[in-house]
């Protein structure tokens, strides 16, 4: 369980808003092994989200290289990246990003739609994932009928539906109160026990403390491990 799953080498991402250069990532080297539970921490604007977007293949680096599960992302076409996101990555966002007017079940089934599974198989698998996060009673509720914590659990179930190798959670508890934060973190604990690799971005010390390893970002660089 210690093979390197995510390898970043001199990863750089530069933005050019109105002329000047902003180095959102400035030469990041990092290795995250299969099954690890890593918290990415650091002040606002330090490049945490940018790093996550790279790992999730939503964005391409300006320089440097990213190898995930033995494959260099830079070599992939847009369609191949889409397929990579579909099979290897599960995203959890701060703002949940559930489809409105769509049941929890169909929200969770969404990633499987792009795998060409039949409706029945999609819903079967989605129901299983909702059971995992303790929401099997709420399958047919719309997001507007769920609490924030419940919505985030639906989002986690959606991230799990495709059975990804990596769960990327960017401030998943940022919009939750302390009680529901604990519920969500408990679920992440269960998942890491099942062997899924988790990378979690957070500002909060207590949240970061639940991970087995912490990486501290500042000004687009990794400045400290396990602070």
């Amino acid at each position: 369980m210690s093979a390197p799953l995510i390898q970043a080498r001199a990863l750089t991402r530069t933005y050019h808003p109105g002329g000047g250069d902003v180095h959102a990532l400035d030469g990041v080297d990092a290795v995250i092994n299969t099954g690890e539970y890593v918290a990415v921490m650091g002040p606002s604007g330090s490049g945490k989200s940018t790093f996550m977007n790279m790992v999730g293949a939503l964005d391409r680096p300006s320089a440097g290289e990213l190898v995930i599960a033995g494959e260099a992302l830079s070599a992939k076409s847009p369609d191949q990246l889409a397929d990579f996101r579909n099979r290897q990555i599960g995203f959890v966002f701060q703002q949940f990003n559930l489809l409105p007017r769509t049941t929890a079940l169909d929200n969770v089934a969404l990633p499987l739609l792009y795998r060409g599974l039949s409706l029945n198989r999609r819903r079967e698998k989605a129901a299983e994932c909702l059971r995992m996060v303790g929401l099997d009673e709420r399958m047919n509720h719309h997001p507007s009928q769920l609490s924030g914590g419940q919505q985030q659990r639906v989002a986690i179930a959606r991230a799990l539906a495709g059975e990804p190798a990596i769960l990327l959670a960017d401030e998943p508890t940022g919009a939750l109160d302390s009680q529901t934060t604990i519920e969500v973190l408990d679920i992440l604990d269960q998942l890491t026990a099942r062997g899924i690799t988790i990378v979690l971005v957070t500002h909060e010390k207590e949240v970061g403390a639940r991970a087995e390893r912490r990486i501290l970002f500042r000004d687009g660089r990794i400045v400290e491990e396990n602070p």
């Binding site: 939503l58 847009p78 889409a82 397929d83 996101r85 990633p111 739609l113 060409g116």
Partner: protein, 417 residues
């Protein structure tokens, strides 16, 4: 993502915004409706042309003395020397390309039987005419060539004349006075109904041309024995129409002593061409209306494009999310294309229903409004036109918004407020 799933996603999106979807397709509804009505009118007009051509016979030529050239040395019909029954016989006997020929003399006539008066039209013919025009008798018989030679006073009545003069039975063998002359009724013509011009084609009496010439119409021309007004001929099956026309013209030029280079003092008309030319104005009108319908449809398409662009903007975050969970660009593009096509198809179906209803209404109302020449033809294939046109609009005007959606940057889309 397969097509069925894409359609399901699209229909959900449309249901969610039912009112806006409906408003967006109004333009398509009216456009398809306009196209349906104009296509029905155009098809009605071309059906009328075909019926007329069929009723005149597609292998029929019509000959008249006189020329078209009004400014020239010769005048129009009437001033030139008319054709005679001898000309007709000569054509029939000498030209292999012609299988039947008949002169005709037409005149108005007052028919009287049992004290009932009926003004009608009498047509004097040779029995060949029945063959040329593809007519037939429903009862009784056609007069013979011998009866034409003898100027027999025998008549065949159209159904309308029979109904007016002989309300009860016993028509065959009865006596009818035509312009005062007694004729024996020997047959009844098979009914032909209204022409597409709205004329009653059964209000007619036919009789030997010789009898009509001398006893009914009093048709004579100085210097011509047995003149006829027109000649109708039938071309042999399989003969080329143009070749037959040239043969006939050449034969008549020689017979009438017209030198090469000199202008003809007669015209050979192909009626199929004549009607087609006559109806051409209607075809042009139909085309203009169809263009107007298409423009309406295009304006409808702009409505669709507008609402699709709004929909793409509104759902930017949804698009970002779909990309994040693994949708390829073409999945996003297809999703919005299917949505646009579904939207237009619903509009097309509503437009189809309205258009067909309006066309049928027009067809039923036209006679009561006195517009007898308006013909409407609602063909089942019109459904294909409606679905085809609306699908085309959906693809055409949905493509740009769908393409734009598929090109969104996932990160920017996910952060979109």
């Amino acid at each position: 993502m397969n097509t069925l799933a894409a359609i399901a996603v699209a229909l959900t999106a449309l249901r969610v915004n039912a009112l806006r979807s409906f408003l967006a397709i109004l333009g398509v509804i009216f456009g398809v409706m306009a196209v349906i009505i104009t296509v029905s009118l155009a098809q009605g007009a071309s059906r009328a042309v075909q019926e007329q051509i069929a009723s005149l016979g597609s292998n029929t030529l019509n000959i008249q003395s006189g020329s078209n050239d009004r400014g020239g040395r010769r005048g129009g019909a009437g001033s030139a020397i008319p054709f005679s029954s001898d000309d007709v016989d000569a054509i029939r006997e000498n030209l292999d390309v012609i299988v039947a020929a008949s002169g005709t003399i037409q005149s108005s006539v007052t028919a009287v039987a049992d004290g009932v008066n009926w003004p009608s039209t009498i047509l004097g013919i040779h029995p060949d005419y029945i063959e040329v025009r593809d007519w037939s008798v429903a009862e009784g018989r056609v007069f013979s060539v011998a009866e034409v030679s003898r100027s027999s006073r025998v008549a065949i009545l159209g159904r309308t004349v029979v109904d007016e003069l002989f309300p009860s039975d016993g028509v065959l063998g009865a006596l009818v006075r035509l312009n005062g002359q007694p004729f024996e009724v020997i047959g009844i013509l098979t009914e032909r109904g209204q022409s597409s011009f709205g004329q009653d084609q059964d209000d007619i009496i036919i009789a030997p041309i010789s009898t009509v010439r001398t006893r009914v119409a009093g048709y004579s021309r100085a210097g011509v024995r047995d003149p006829v007004q027109r000649i109708w001929v039938e071309i042999a099956p399989g003969e080329d129409m143009n070749y037959a026309t040239e043969e006939l013209e050449q034969f008549l030029r020689v017979r009438r002593g017209i030198d090469p280079g000199e202008q003809d003092d007669f015209q050979v008309r192909n009626f199929a061409e004549f009607i087609t030319a006559f109806r051409a104005t209607e075809t042009v009108m139909g085309l203009l209306l169809a263009v107007a319908g298409l423009i309406t449809l295009m304006v409808g398409g702009i409505g669709i494009m507008n609402v699709m662009l709004v929909s793409v903007t509104e759902r930017t975050r949804e698009i970002g999310l779909r990309l994040a969970v693994g949708a390829r660009r073409r999945d996003i593009r297809n999703q919005f294309l299917v949505e646009s096509v579904a939207l237009c198809s619903v509009g097309g179906l509503i437009g189809l229903a309205l258009g067909v209803s309006m066309a049928l209404l027009l067809e039923n109302l036209a006679p009561t409004l006195g517009v007898t020449r308006l013909t409407v033809s609602v063909d089942p294939s019109i459904a294909l036109v409606a679905i085809g046109a609306s699908t085309m609009v959906g693809v055409l005007f949905g493509f740009y918004p769908a393409h734009r959606a598929s090109r969104l940057d996932p990160i920017i889309a996910l952060r979109y407020e």
